[in-house]
Subunit: 595 residues, 2 copies
């Protein structure tokens, strides 16, 4: 029905007759000439109808937005004065000869402009219209290109695309599972996978050696702006490869993705230990575009007569660190209060600050509520260590080390944005050498990655002797402060796996009930294996500059996990529930009504 | 950890040192030399250890099946007498120099031979071992190649891979949905999609123009050998393409798939109408390798004094057709009884037969229980029309037309196999021009394809005036008697869609409740669109010659929809059920126990 896409017509076609199909993006009758902007997925082109062909002109005059039409016409160069640099097809236009309305459109229920002010609910209810908007269509098309490039890379590197089940058993990621009642086994449930973690490990045990899958995963969590109940992972697992080799290969994949689709050369990714990332940036996913760093100053403050500083400075679990913000001294008292309030979200009890108004004036040039507690030597040492300049602001974090990292890490990000400090477009890195375990609030231990992660260079006995000292052979790929993906070398023998379950307080019975098949499988010549999973949605979001994960998915859910388009979820047929052996619990209010 | 895959070592590497990893497929100590068959996903290679290196030899002697090992050695040509033509690596062997056990294996719980006699349950419980068997691994690897070739073809033809939701609303395919309780909307449920049908149509309404997805679909059906609760579709939809264009493009895809992976040239696919397929083959998915055809003979039997023939021969809804089976006259009475019994499965009341023992002896040479009802002219006419030869068997089907088609179609397939009549390896075709509707047992109408299929060349008024006469613009791709996929041109305006719902007896309220969003969407410039879905599992099954769909899936379910590996489904945490607002209905027996 067409000779090419609208967006693909260019100057080389001048003089040719083309047939195009698409939607009326805009149609204006300007002084007896109809200018029709015709849109398809590849772009927009201008078609001009003049009254010389009265029948066609009449049809053209009758067009309204989003009519679906077919046009025939001749490509013509625009006069220089009318060339539109902002359009891919801006150098040409079509002199319309024929026009067929393939389908008309009722008046639209949402605004189709770039600067639409539709509510999120409206956009999702009329998603098929929202997706016609070029900025949305481009993101979905870009996403298809991402998966295509990734698949080509992995296919070309001997990775096998193998499907794992969606109807499966509760997985161990720790979030809430979606359940699916079984009809054959009444009262029992499948779980939708939070990831194919165990299946991909089983595939390594089967000898497939290099696996990948671009696969839906599910978490029944309370949603935040960047979370969706179903999301997509680029899931990878390999046998006989070290963590360094897995990192190299997947880094190569990411580099080729950015090169091919954005013409960006990401270069070699630096590696940074978790400890260094927390020390310098207060985050395990530091945005390296932000030049601010946390500077440790506890050693300068062990003797000051100010408990807020001196306490953490002398506490083995405490930390005192500062951020020096260039130009920050211009913040008002009110703005500083806002920074303090922001820090408390992350657990800080307050926020001490110091304005370096004029560096060469000594204490005179310094303004700070805590100045009275600090003698001149301490202030001088602080200024030297932070390399503060006149006009800078120093913010203090003093608390338990994890609170300082979190609060100062958050302030670092905020200040980086507020003061427009970010440098460079793309700053990837690997964060490595994570602790195996982190303490839980009830005094136990929690696996920092997941319970199948191998420790670096330890026997099961050594691990059990001092679990909190163990470093895992895990790695996260971070870009611009976002975790793109993470993975680890996996445990490949049952003694180590059993030891880890024991350290995590998973009783033998529970371990067997939940992971018995894995422990059994580990007994039959399991190869050393390692892998990683990337969040596809987040990668596409970053690469397209979208502000929400919903803008890179064709049919996302609302933040209450509903679909306004199809009205899912919905009530079930009562007979089907009986077949499934379940019933809906009447809520108290409903009971009252029915009484 | 390796220099190459085991299967990739060949004569060109003779003299080189290689490092390989894999599993002990077999290890034998023959007269003081250990022959180790080492296996990885690409093949098996022989490694030889002699006692010259006593330490290595001792390790080699200790190997048991399925140990995971790393070896180093030098590639050596085998003496001519020891060349093994059946192995890819049969011309060479490795002289082992080093040997590291990466992981040992406990004695195996299943038999790993090619001719294993493990039960299906055992194979699924130890799937990770079952998948190590080369014939299983090869099928899974082949499947990955199929998806890779298909994706490359579709990517190269401008199709966009777009993901549609798994948590969605009940879909209209008519099978039972899997339900997922919503936590946010207690008492409500998502359904897992039986296909992305409506979403792909919505994507056409969004202007994406060419869509594909290799996607999981779900049906909670009672399972048969070739059904699984979750299966995979190659799902395709296009805008602005006619049914002929969709068929051409997807036929090209299938041709390139067979060419690239099997080096088979499928040639151009013939097109056959549904009516012709039913008339000649008694099936809408005829296996064209089978030369047998149903031959209509009602006109010869309108006057015979035998109600069983004469009734259907004169009934406008009846049909009398025969199959002439070359060499079939040798069947014993007992075998003929089995054929008759087989026909009754498909609704036939019995099966009349006629043995053509000696054609040139007239009625003398004919043997048949119904011979007494037929005069010589009728018999002669039957023999002429069927072109029967001495030794042939004629089977009669006389009943309502649909029963004759089904029963004789089934006998055609059975006879084709029993008498080894199949010719050629691959016989594809398109079946087209299906009826829009078929009658239901309660006197209503059912959509033969699905309710979104467009009729060929009819207005909504014409369709409603005589729905049973309507032919749909639908098409099925059939290969060797299997439906590989099917699709149709879709309805793209709401008047036609509403008319079809009305014909199907879907009340306005129900239509709005279930498909209101589709009817609404059809109002805003919906483009003409058409599509198709292929069953990936079945394609892989055919191409690999697997006898069960389970043998082309990594982790299938049993015929009771369970997973013996993970023990899914399982009991849920009671608190989670409360959160979901559902409860398990106690069965009568359980109630008694708890009382």
């Amino acid at each position: 029905m067409r000779s090419q896409y609208c967006g693909d017509v260019n100057k080389s076609h001048v003089g040719q007759e083309v047939t195009l199909v698409g939607w009326v993006n805009r149609s204006r009758d300007l002084g007896g000439v109809v200018f029709l902007d015709l849109r398809d997925r590849e772009g927009i082109i201008q078609v001009v109808y003049d009254p010389d062909l009265p029948e066609v002109f009449d049809v053209a005059s009758s067009l309204r937005s989003e009519f679906c039409v077919q046009i025939k016409g001749v490509v013509s160069a625009r006069p220089d004065s009318q060339i539109n640099d902002k359009m891919r097809t801006g150098e040409i236009e079509i002199l319309g000869k024929e026009l067929t309305i393939l389908n008309s459109s009722a008046p639209l229920p949402i605004n189709m402009d770039k600067n639409q002010h539709n509510t999120e609910e409206q956009r999702l209810k009329y998603r098929y219209l929202d997706l016609r908007r070029p900025e949305m269509a481009e993101r979905i098309i870009f996403r298809a290109k991402v998966t295509s490039v990734v698949r080509r890379f992995l296919d070309g590197n001997g990775f096998l695309d193998i499907e794992t089940p969606i109807l499966t058993k509760a997985t161990p990621e720790g979030a809430r599972d979606y359940l699916v009642p079984s009809r054959t086994y009444k009262g029992q449930f499948f779980a939708l996978p939070q990831s194919p973690q165990l299946f991909k490990q089983l595939l390594m045990m089967s000898g497939f050696d290099r696996y990948y899958q671009i696969v839906k995963c599910f978490r029944d969590e309370d949603l935040r702006a960047d979370r969706q109940p179903e999301f997509t992972q680029i899931d990878i697992e390999t046998s006989f490869m070290s963590s360094a080799q897995v990192m190299d290969k997947t880094e190569e994949m990411m580099r080729s993705l950015f090169k091919e689709l954005l013409d960006v050369d990401l270069g070699e990714f630096p590696k940074m230990t978790f400890a260094e990332a927390m020390r310098r940036f207060g985050s395990d996913k530091p945005d390296l575009r932000n030049p601010l760093e946390l500077i440790d100053v506890a050693d300068l403050l062990t003797d000051v007569d100010f408990k807020v500083f001196q306490g953490p400075a002398t506490d083995p679990e405490g930390r005192v660190a500062v951020l020096c913000i260039p130009g920050g001294a211009k913040l008002s008292r009110k703005q500083l209060d806002q920074y303090a309030k922001y820090a408390t979200i992350y657990g800080a009890k307050g926020l001490a600050w110091m304005k370096v108004n004029e560096l060469d004036k000594g204490l005179e040039g310094i303004q700070s509520p805590v100045l009275k507690f600090l003698n001149e030597d301490v202030v001088k040492a602080l200024l030297e260590r932070t390399k503060a300049k006149s006009g800078d602001l120093i913010l203090f974090g003093a608390d338990k080390a994890n609170i300082v990292a979190e609060a100062m890490g958050a302030l670092r990000i905020k200040a980086g944005e507020d003061f427009d400090l970010l440098k460079g477009d793309w700053k990837p890195l690997w964060v490595v050498d994570f602790p195996m375990f982190e303490p839980t609030s009830d005094g136990g231990l929690h696996a920092m990655h997941h319970p199948f992660t191998a420790p670096s260079g330890m026997t099961p006995e050594q691990l059990e002797a001092d679990p909190t000292a163990a470093i895992s052979d895990a790695y996260d790929m971070v870009l611009n402060g976002c975790e793109l993906g993470g993975g680890s070398v996996r445990i490949h023998n049952s003694e180590m796996q059993t030891a880890v379950f024991r350290i995590l307080g998973i009783e033998e019975e529970e371990a067997n009930e939940k992971f018995g098949f894995l422990l059994e499988a580990l007994r039959y010549g399991t190869p050393p294996h390692a892998g990683l999973a990337f969040g596809l949605d987040r990668i596409v979001m970053l690469m397209t500059g979208a502000s929400s994960i919903r803008d890179v998915m064709a049919f996302p859910k609302t933040t209450t996990a509903a679909c306004p388009l199809t009205n899912a979820p919905g009530f079930a047929n009562p007979e089907q529930l009986v077949e499934l052996g379940i019933s809906v619990i009447e809520s108290e209010e409903e009971k009252e009504v029915s009484e």
